[in-house]
Amino acid sequence: MQIKWPLIAAVVVGLLLVAVALSLLVGDIPISAATVWDALFSHDSQLSAHVIIRDWRLPRAVADVLVGASLAVAGAIMQAMTRNPLASPGIMGLNTGASFATLLAMVLWPVAGRCELILLSIAGATMGAALVYGLGSLSRGGLTPVRLALVGIAVSSVLGAIGNGLMIYHELGQDALLWFARGTEGVEWLDIRMLLPMTGMGLLGAMAIAPALGVLTLGDGVARGLGQRTGSTKFLAALIVLLLVGGAVALAGPVGFIGLMVPHVVRYFVGLDHRAVIPGSALCGAALLLVADIGARFATVPLKAPVPVGVMTALLGVPFFLYLACRRPTAARGGRL
């Protein structure tokens, strides 16, 4: 496998660059490649095409890269930490927490703008994760992966139910749906500037703990025997997942499937060494979300309705995941869910 890595890395980086370029080229208004180049490197704010590229398509592409990379890396960390192939950021209560805070804000503070909603969803995600971890560690016998998953589902159920109740009682309807399904459409530079520190720290942190994660996948006992402080590694990992997913949810709403799927695909190619899995997941996640977003822009025209990027990630991801699940009966080798 060692020899293949540079090749795989080159292919993935190449794909990512192509995807970024396509994402700048494709859109409702046809803009030539030369104009895109000019808009990036000799910008003229008098020309509308240049403004479209710099203030609409470029931030959207950057956001796609950040969100895709964050979700995929968070998924890889979760799957390694819980030794569960089905773990995804969703079970930590981050998504429900963010959605809950946003719904609450829509009810109590209807004038809240984009910026406030983003900050609130970070707060909500933190609250959700704190609830799950806090309640999980309260219990006798400590925080086992299965217990974490169960507590996560229970907390999600409570928060999701309250959110649903609010939505029905206050007749929020499709407003809330549109906000959650917005994806990276309409992302502004300000949003990215707000969230970049968080996401950047998360990604760097993930790279830093990658070797420890690899050891952790061997099981708690082995990891401890090899001299790892499993408790603090898991705590750090959870903190990093919070940074990554909190940022991603705030930027683009809950985008499903990337966190669950990308790590599987990457592990399939590079094996279980997390020094390769983490950066690989980041690159593949970014490329996948870019492609999905481009697809969503294409699909909107014939369907005459907004196509959320989550629909596209599912469209790309479901068949591949099915293939993986059916091809390898050992896909669940992490043990019991």
């Binding site: 409570v158 009682y169 629909v311 599912a314 059916c326």
Partner: protein
Amino acid sequence: MMREKGTVPIGAKHPSGRSGKGGPSPFPARRLRPVAVLVLLTLVLLATAIVSLDLGSVQLSPRQILAALAGQGETQHELVILQLRLPRLVLSILIGVGLAVSGVILQGITRNDLASPDTVGVNAGSGLGMMFLLVVYPTAVAQSPLLLPLGAVAGAMAMTALVFALAYRQGSVLPSRLLLVGIAVGFGAQAAMLLFSLRMSFSMYSYVVTWMSGTLAAGDWTSILLLLPCSLLLVPLAFSRTRVLNVMSLGDYLAAGLGVSVDRQRLLLLGVATMLTAPCVAIGGHIGFLGLAAPHLARRMVGANHGVLFPAAALCGAILLLVADSLGRHLFAPVEIPAGVLVGILGGIYFLYLLARTKG
């Protein structure tokens, strides 16, 4: 008897000598307590049912309720009791039992704590079937109200069949593959539902959201007639598989070694669980958390022996849904909070409490 002492589960205080006629049951030590729990749960269910009949905007005395039930009350009281409150009471119990029993089956055959009816695609399929009808054939749906539940049942069956087919390999359905496939298909269905919901009118979307949160507001005797045959047929069938499920909890190899035809029984039980859930979901909406929580609640009360786990879970499910539905009608009186919302909140909180209190 002495040899069984070593196998007493933690927390069972009774000496194992009680299990005199226990025979080959793998769970010998817990005889007395589960029965007491079952009796207690039945009493709670009865009490909840009585309170539920009493709650509502029309105040009735117990005597008036009894008279109405016997068909000798005033016309208005009979209308309230027999046409409004009683159907919902019966429906809550039927749906609660159905979802809880199928949850027990699914957690049993997959040996997975997180399995529930929605993991094999029942919820996704029913939602998709219903939304498809609403968006593509809105006029037909408006003309015949029975079309929607039928569409939901058809969707649920189709989706579960798809999940089975994709997970089926060489005569058997492996639990791990079933769950993976179920999750993947569920994601796909969710995406499709998102597309549908963005194309709906505001009022239609509100209706769908209410249904998706799980509500019994549309409950009447017709829906009970749809549901009752399924429950009467399938719940006893599930109860008759107690021994098979107990043995299967030891693992596929041991179960096969003990003479259970694992693959066939698993397919049969999967079929039972689906057929039981599909009409429940079609009528009551996605009260999915019930199917996950009720078996867990019951297991933490009576242990893992399916002989007592089945009735205990069924009672838990019925009580939980009944309480949620009654409270939902009553709490914010003119506006009705869907039962599913309250099941999520109440069940979730109690579930968290149990998780915190018990070990492992």
